[in-house]
């Protein structure tokens, strides 16, 4: 349970309900203060979308009794292929290296599907998903510079 509230920002308390505990954006408070509200909103929006996709992924793993797999691999979702030490993960998890590769690959793909699904719910036309993701990426870039 997160207790050090001062160290983390919950941008919109209450509006995220129970999810808020996980929504800790490591942006210095001063930076947030200086952001215009619209930008701040986009930041939270982006984080929420990502959080939701991750949460769904986590629960899909958990419902199959594979939360341990999620916990071990989710931090490598965005790693480049050569950044991942499959041998280390294999030793940690006690499963074959090939199995680690396969699981991480599929977890990535599934995460992508979930993320796109989350974003598609927020745009009028499903074809806008890519644009929306790019827009949010751009917002993040300018918002946290």
């Amino acid at each position: 349970m997160h207790t050090n509230a001062a160290a983390a920002w919950n941008l919109f308390p209450g509006t995220i309900g129970w999810r808020k505990r996980r929504q800790h954006l490591s942006i210095p408070g001063a930076t947030l203060e200086s952001l215009p509200p619209e930008r701040l909103f986009d930041l939270t929006w982006a984080a929420t979308v990502v959080e939701h996709a991750l949460q769904r992924l986590r629960e899909e793993c958990e419902s199959k009794g594979k939360l341990w797999l999620f916990q071990a691999l989710s931090s490598h979702l965005t790693d480049e292929r050569d950044e991942v030490s499959y041998a280390k993960l294999s030793a940690e998890l006690g499963i074959a290296e090939t199995a680690v590769k396969k699981q991480l690959h599929n977890m990535r793909q599934r995460y992508r599907s979930l993320l796109r699904d989350e974003v598609s719910q927020t745009v009028e036309d499903p074809a806008d998903v890519d644009d929306e993701i790019r827009y949010l990426c751009a917002s993040l870039a300018t918002g946290t510079e």
Partner: protein
């Protein structure tokens, strides 16, 4: 920007732009299934998860080991996609706590209700070694007598829960577990309520699990208030199932099963199992009546009939004329006829001789709100903690004595009865409740156990154990006494009828949910935790306060007192809709309280309309009424800061919140719910309804900062953040709806403003 897991948000977003095929959930599950789980321990709170033992409608069940005691328990965890709203989770927590207070040998005990790191609730409960009735059904089928014995116990357990205001709603063989001795343990009490209220039948059915066991009225109109008869139906269906080897109705899908249950009479038990006794068939048929009124009126009645059958006596379900009843009985028990006749005569003589005693006993009818506090006994080996036990008792006594409307027996008379049984204490002091307890010291720790006993029947109403370090005896004494006294106030408040509510804030404290040990249906009602029972004799009827006549000024939570004259100051409300909740129909209001003598113009900056949100603009006027004594406060609560604070108490004394709700035409909205929540919305302190004039008032609040949410017909219309309330003065908060006709469908860059999944509140229709 990174999540607290350290992953960069941008990277996670960009991942969505990478190529690759869509991976469906089904496919991914097969991939997950490929990898075998080596033993990987992980923890949920204090529990080391050992293995998954089930996956129900709401979540996952694990076998787990308690970290320190090594005790093996079952841990049930709700998954958020099963309950995707804050309300549902909140209800889950309340329900679990209500169930945790049920204490019956045939109800699966819940040890702890807690929350995991990600904020999802879970609870730990006894691990039932022999699995469920479903798993044991085949072996039990050949022993109808054993089945009936088992079901009689189950019915007693259900009856007990009903008497505490908890309906099960999902009785089925899978929810009746067996301990190592084969004794039944009913699990999952009231939890089916979690996702109830959703009109989507398919979803309800998944929630309910097996459709064959729920009462027809339960599957129908979601608005129907269920009664214990719904559980009686399910008990009958379970009995039918264990005896016949299948539920009463079968079908290719849940909907067809429900339809059959609603439209046709249940098949006769003996048409499936001809060897069974006709009386069992009658008992099942009585439970499975489509009309709830035609069933046994209580689970206790069913239990009694099952026990009659076990004892070879005529059952009640099939009315038998009295002479025939005697004839049948005498046929079965020829030797007893003579003895019974003699017994009757003796009995009559005894009644006559001891009529005085009997009459006195029946006269023991103490006031419900009365209590005696016995000195807490010292069960330490050294027996050197008597002073602490006495001190705690005296402190509790002192605290309770200050509660209006609660009769507390005096110290001397109570303490003189130390060691007597509770019934005797109750009778001697004419009190309905007796609080007793014990304490035990081990090293520098002390464990205090308190029990509230209903003096009329000797049943334990409430119990709590406190484990504390013995640093300062006085502080400990104070703290425990206060905890117990507060919990008891809640208990008493729960058990009082609305008309008897003392206006001392005790009841309001209950409303605030400071203690959520809600064993009453008020905690599970569709209106919410705050609705008291108006008719204690029928705790399952939740009153509807929407009609004008229902507005009862005696009810603390609906009482409307006129706001103090407008000598107060006007505040400035800056609407940060675009910051905090544009897409979620949420309005964040910064409330700036100013010194009373200063007059401000109301300034409402509505960014929602700027951004083109297609919704009603909400004007929040927050006016603090003039304080009794002058103050000079300038509080500026920014929405951004809100997350860093908890509800803070600014001063002693109760605060209150009041105002009106008006629609776009300026007409009052009656029957709307105004919910007073913690700032993060995770805790609901009170829900009050607006009266026919659209007014509401919530009294007895702790002074502090709240989030106030308005719900009209169950839909969230507005949430006002950071509403500051102050001690001993009412705060005015009005909801005035004005449509913004110019608001368009599109906002920035043609993006459709929609509901953000998982956030609380409701979104407007497309």
């Amino acid at each position: 920007m990174r999540l607290d897991t350290g992953i960069c948000v941008s990277c996670l977003l960009r991942e969505g732009l990478e190529g690759g095929d869509d991976v469906s959930q089904a496919f991914y599950q097969t991939v997950l299934a490929e990898v075998d789980a080596p033993h990987k321990s992980w923890f949920l709170g204090n529990y080391e998860i050992l293995e998954q033992i089930g996956c129900g409608g709401m979540g996952v069940i694990y076998r787990a080991r308690q970290r320190h005691s090594r005790r093996i328990v079952a841990v049930k965890r709700v998954l958020s996609y099963r309950a995707d709203s804050h309300e549902a989770l909140e209800r889950f927590r309340r329900e679990a706590q209500a169930v945790a207070s049920l204490d019956h040998p045939n109800i699966l005990p819940i040890y702890e209700v807690s929350e995991s790191e990600d904020g999802l609730p879970f609870f730990s409960m006894k691990f039932a070694e022999k699995g469920s009735l479903q798993e044991n059904a085949a072996s039990l089928r050949d022993e109808p007598r054993k089945c009936v014995q088992l079901m009689a116990k189950v019915a007693h357990a259900v009856e007990y829960a009903h008497s505490r205001g908890v309906l099960h709603r999902d009785l089925k063989p899978g929810n009746i577990l067996l301990n190592d001795r084969g004794e039944p343990l009913v699990s999952d009490f009231g939890l089916a309520k979690l996702l109830d209220g959703n009109n989507d039948l398919t979803r309800s059915l998944t929630t309910f699990g097996t459709a064959g066991f729920i009462a027809p009225e339960q599957a129908g109109d979601a608005a129907v208030d269920l009664t214990p008869a719904a559980d009686v139906y399910s008990l009958g269906a379970v009995l039918f199932n264990v005896l016949a080897g299948r539920p009463p109705f079968l079908g290719s899908n849940p909907v067809s099963v429900i339809r059959q249950a609603s439209e046709t009479q249940a098949p006769k038990l003996r048409s499936l199992a001809p060897s069974l006794d006709r009386d069992l068939e009658t008992i099942c048929a009585r439970c499975l009546e489509r009309d709830p009124k035609a069933r046994y009126q209580s689970a206790g009645d069913l239990a009694a009939d099952l026990e009659r059958w076990l004892a070879g006596r005529p059952i009640v379900a099939r009315p038998v004329s009295p002479p025939a009843r005697i004839w049948r009985w005498s046929q079965r028990n020829p030797k007893l006829v003579g003895a019974a006749t003699a017994g009757l005569l003796l009995g009559a003589a005894a009644v006559w001789l001891f009529r005085g005693e009997l009459f006195r006993a029946s006269q023991f009818n103490p006031p419900d709100r009365s209590i005696a506090v016995l000195p807490f006994t010292d069960s330490s080996e050294a027996k050197d903690q008597e002073y602490l036990g006495d001190g705690i008792s005296e402190e509790i006594l002192h605290t309770l004595a200050q509660v209006d409307g609660l009769r507390v027996a005096g110290r001397a008379s109570s303490f003189s009865l130390k060691g007597k049984n509770t019934k005797e204490v109750g009778e001697k002091l004419n009190v309905g409740n007796v609080l007793e307890g014990s304490l035990q010291r081990q090293g520098n720790r002390v464990r205090v156990t308190a029990e509230l006993i209903d003096a009329r029947n000797g049943f334990r109403v409430w119990t709590e154990t406190y484990d504390r370090e013995l640093d300062s005896a006085f502080a400990l004494q104070d703290e425990i006494a206060r905890s117990i006294a507060d919990a008891l106030k809640i208990k008493f408040a729960v058990r009082l009828s609305a008309h008897e509510q003392p206006g001392n804030g005790v009841y309001d404290r209950y409303l605030q949910g400071l203690f959520t040990d809600v064993t009453h249906p008020t905690g599970v009602s569709r209106i919410g935790a705050s609705v008291p029972v108006q008719n204690p004799s029928d705790p399952f009827t939740v009153p509807d306060y929407t009609s004008p006549g229902d507005f009862d000024p005696r009810r603390p939570d609906t009482r409307v007192t006129a706001a103090p004259p407008g000598t107060g100051f006007t505040t400035s409300v800056r609407d940060r809709a675009s910051e905090a909740g544009l897409r979620t129909n949420k309005i964040t209001a910064d409330v700036i309280a100013a010194p009373p003598e200063t007059a401000f113009n109301t300034s409402v900056r509505d960014r929602a309309s700027e951004a083109g949100l297609r919704t009603n603009k909400i004007t929040a006027d927050v006016t603090a009424a003039p304080p009794e004594t002058g103050f000079n406060t300038s509080v500026r609560d920014r929405a951004l800061e809100a997350g860093l604070r908890t509800n803070k108490i600014t001063a002693d004394g109760p605060a209150s919140l009041q105002g009106f709700v008006k629609d776009a035409k300026g007409e009052p909205i009656k029957g709307a719910d105004v919910r007073i929540e913690s700032r993060d919305g995770k805790q609901v302190f009170s829900t009050v309804k607006t009266d026919p004039k659209g007014r509401y008032i919530s009294q007895g609040l702790q002074p502090g900062v709240y989030r106030v949410t308005l719900l009209v017909n169950g839909a969230v219309k507005a949430s006002i953040m950071n509403t500051q309330t102050k001690a001993n003065q009412p705060t005015q908060l009005n909801f005035d709806f004005k449509p913004t006709s110019q608001a368009g469908n599109t906002a920035r860059r043609g993006k459709r403003m929609v509901w953000m999944p998982g956030r609380t509140g409701s979104h407007h229709r497309r």
